[in-house]
């Protein structure tokens, strides 16, 4: 028994050194040499400032809006991302889904409120339908994508707000749309952050400032 205890302790120590120190450090070394950009989080810099990560979605809504259960109103000139239940604590971006169950009144009310906001902001005709992904929270709260259908209903508004041609915006949307990998992996999707960055680049807001620093 004593021998077994000794072996157990030695074994966890040895395996911790091997798999808990040597292995992750070795992977870190390899990663930093071979894929330094990815290893550091695929960060995007603009004018020397880190504005985020290519992988981490941003909402592009004004979350201070307190009128009702809605996720918020879209920032002018931007494509709106998906609602998010991620939150910031001690300044740290914490990922989270909404975790609302399908019969939870709060969920239904939030979706209804966001549908109303999206309809109103984009001035959609009654015949135009709201795609589900645009009014449902993502699992991580950091989803960088929306569906092509969700982008499509925002094109007219963005074009109007930025004062550019709808066709040009549509073109940019297409540029930032990815199809299914190998034809069956994943969903067609529009990268919202990259699209909005491209818009800022190509067609800055008439009244600069909304884009921030």
């Amino acid at each position: 028994m004593l021998a077994q205890i000794r072996t157990a302790v030695l074994m966890i120590v040895v395996l911790t050194v091997l798999t808990g120190i040597a292995y992750p450090l070795a992977i870190t070394g390899v990663a930093q040499v071979l894929f330094p950009d990815q290893a550091d989080g695929s960060l995007i810099e603009r004018d020397g400032v880190v504005i985020g990560s290519e992988l981490i979605g941003q909402g592009f809504v004004d979350r201070t809006d307190e009128d009702g259960p809605t996720y918020g109103r879209t920032l002018a000139g931007y494509f709106r991302g998906r609602p998010s239940a991620a939150f910031v604590e001690d300044g740290i971006l914490v990922s989270s889904g909404s975790n609302y169950g399908p019969t939870n009144r709060v969920l239904i009310d939030r979706v209804a409120a966001d549908v109303a906001v999206v309809r109103q902001e984009n001035g959609l005709a009654a015949a135009i339908e709201i795609p589900i992904d645009l009014v449902t929270a993502s699992a991580s709260g950091l989803d960088p994508h929306i569906s092509p259908a969700s982008a499509a209903i925002q094109i007219a508004r963005v074009a109007r707000e930025r004062g550019v041609d709808e066709a040009r915006v549509r073109e940019l949307v297409n540029d930032h749309t990815e199809g299914r990998t190998l034809g069956f992996l994943g969903e067609p999707r529009v990268h919202v952050l990259n699209l909005n960055l491209a818009l800022d680049e190509e067609a800055p807001m008439p009244a600069a400032g909304a884009a921030g620093g």
């Binding site: 992977i27 390899v30 290893a39 695929s42 880190v50 920032l75 795609p131 569906s147």
Partner: protein, 579 residues
């Protein structure tokens, strides 16, 4: 269409990898030489020398069990202490404070038992050293423990008139060195290449386009992510787990993660067949698992793609083509756009069929039936490929029961793989079977009668019941996924869930090792035309039937008051609010 293609591609890859992986493991655990020996064997010998293990000495089941328990206790202490003391330890750039005892207990138990339930927000709780040297290590060794136990049980069936079932230290070391570590290294590098961070940097301050500044968490993610999937651990580096774009950035990484979950469990079915001398036996188990798997995938995918009628009422379209443009459609609440319905549903079924528990979508927000499948997958004991090792030993216990109940009907004392199933074996199998309902339903019953527990609900009515039921199901099944709205980091849930995890792990493993020891000792009967055949479709159907019936009988009433009634409520357009 792409839904079906995804499933076909996934299953095809799994099928193709089962034999090579299984064969490799069979060789490793039989002490045969493999391609990795030139590199790994010296390390293996070094470990034995450092720890004083005599690799030639085999153990009886009792010694094996004691070694396993002691090792897990030691592992528990390491994880517990790393959490408690992390404030003063290096590699903690955010200077996160030590974790309070109950949560530290819960998390340590959680990772040691291969559950990897997380009652905390990792981004704001765990320092890099705790993640690397505590949690990542358990991602390896808790998985290795599972594999070791499964191999011990397989030896029980394979051997005759033997007292020994192997050497735990050797099985543990080999599982880590030859199987888990090499696969993890390859997968970690792949993940980094596709965008998963691997650094020891401080969190990145980023000024978003909206103007607000946030700290984007960083860390050695890839090196933890790889064994998290390969060892069916499932504990996320971040709160959102594999839904977080840093953990699972693309549909391709998602596909690889799904394959990684089932890779070893599927391979073990072949290892089993090979070690008992009839690979058909292994394929029969594989087929039974596959059948249950397809049912689960079909139900969840259809349920999620059909969506939530209440959301349609709220004005959102759940069609896949809206205004002539593409959208995932279906119930997209708490799912990622890049994965859509198909990859989210498939992932949910896989992660709960196995005891992984990683999630790429939030099960709490699934439709009732879509969410019932993960719940049931775990409730059945995660025998659909299952946890590394745990899935195989779980389904072998079901096999013993199925053989015993129905095997009598061929007019012989039931025997499985030539081993007669006698009172002692039935007793051990029943002990294992009792663990699930006792812990899951017992704790749930207590919680539903406790106001403090009810206060942790995030959702009302039937769904609130499902959340609590899921929590104890997940903990007992050592899965770790959650109906994650529940606030489990509470004085009620930390200890009860911790206990459920311990019960679900060790109260199963010990009787299984006892069973292994008893089986190893028996003579192996010859197969004749009068022997219950355990390879054909009839057997596969019987095994599937027994698993489903046992599961249905155990959970029917509880599920009726959870997902089942909620399904009809949803159809009838009824909603609820927390009072």
């Amino acid at each position: 269409m792409s839904n079906a293609l995804l499933l076909i591609a996934y299953f095809g890859v799994l099928l193709a990898m089962t034999k090579p992986v299984g064969l490799f493991m069979a060789r490793v655990f039989s002490g045969e030489r493999t391609v990795l020996h030139p590199v790994v064997a010296p390390v293996e010998r070094g470990i034995y020398r450092l720890t004083g293990v005599d690799e030639t000495k085999e153990m009886r089941w009792t010694t094996y069990a004691v070694a396993m328990l002691l090792f897990n206790l030691a592992g528990f202490l390491v994880v517990y202490l790393l959490q408690r003391l992390q404030r003063g330890l290096p590699l903690n750039p955010r200077e996160l404070s030590g974790i309070e005892p109950r949560s530290a207990f819960n998390t340590a138990v959680s990772f040691v038992t291969n559950t990897n339930w997380q009652g905390y927000y990792p981004e704001i709780t765990m320092g890099y050293l705790t993640q690397m040297s505590g949690l990542t290590v358990q991602n390896f060794v808790s998985a290795a423990t599972g594999i070791a136990v499964a191999i011990a049980l397989v030896r029980g069936f394979a051997r005759r008139s033997s007292r020994e079932i192997g050497n735990f230290w050797v099985d543990l070391t080999r599982a880590t060195l030859y199987v888990l570590l090499p696969l993890s290294i390859v997968m970690a590098v792949f993940l980094v290449a596709r965008g998963v961070p691997q650094n020891l940097n401080d969190y990145t301050a980023a000024v978003g386009l909206g103007g607000e500044t946030v700290l984007i968490p960083q860390g050695p993610v890839a090196s933890q992510e790889a064994p998290k999937m390969i060892g069916t651990n499932g504990g996320g580096f971040f709160n959102a787990n594999s839904a977080h774009p840093y953990e699972n950035p693309t549909p391709l990484t998602n596909f690889v993660q799904m394959v990684a979950i089932f890779l070893i469990p599927a391979g073990l079915t072949y290892t089993f067949g090979r070690m008992v001398g009839n690979t058909k036996q292994g394929w029969a188990i594989f087929a039974a698992m596959s059948a249950l798997f397809f049912v689960g995938v079909a139900v969840t995918t259809v349920a999620e793609q059909s969506g939530n009628p209440l959301l349609t009422d709220a004005g959102a379209s759940q069609e896949t083509t809206v205004n002539g443009e593409s959208t995932p459609g279906g119930n997209m609440e708490s799912k990622e756009t890049r994965f859509g319905i198909a990859a989210s549903s498939l992932f949910a079924v896989i992660t709960t069929a196995a005891s992984c528990g990683a999630v790429n979508a939030m099960h709490d927000s699934f439709t009732p039936l879509g969410g019932m499948v993960p719940l049931a997958n775990i409730g059945l004991g995660e025998v659909i490929f299952g946890g590394v090792g745990a899935g195989l030993y779980g389904i072998l216990v079901y096999s013993v029961l199925a053989i015993f109940i129905a095997g009598l009907m061929v007019g012989r004392t039931p025997e499985y793989l030539g081993k007669k199933i006698e009172p002692y074996d039935v007793k051990m199998a029943m002990l294992v079977t009792l663990v699930l309902p006792l812990s899951i339903l017992g704790f749930t019953g207590v919680a539903m009668a406790t106001d403090e527990a009810l206060a942790s609900r995030w959702n009302p009515a039937a769904h609130g019941l499902s959340e609590i039921l899921y929590a104890f199901t997940s903990a007992t099944g050592n899965n770790g996924s959650a109906f994650a709205g529940i606030s489990a980091n509470t004085p009620f849930f930390n200890p009860t869930l911790g206990m459920a995890m311990l019960i679900g792990r060790f109260l199963m493993i010990v009787p299984i090792l006892a069973l292994a020891g008893n089986l190893a000792h028996k003579q192996r009967a010859t197969v004749t035309a009068g022997t219950f055949p355990t390879t054909g479709p009839l057997w596969i159907g019987l095994l599937v039937g027994v698993i489903l019936i046992v599961g249905a009988l155990t959970y029917f009433p509880a599920y009726t008051l959870g997902p089942v009634v909620e399904h009809f409520q949803m159809r009838n357009g009824i909603t609820f609010s927390l009072e």
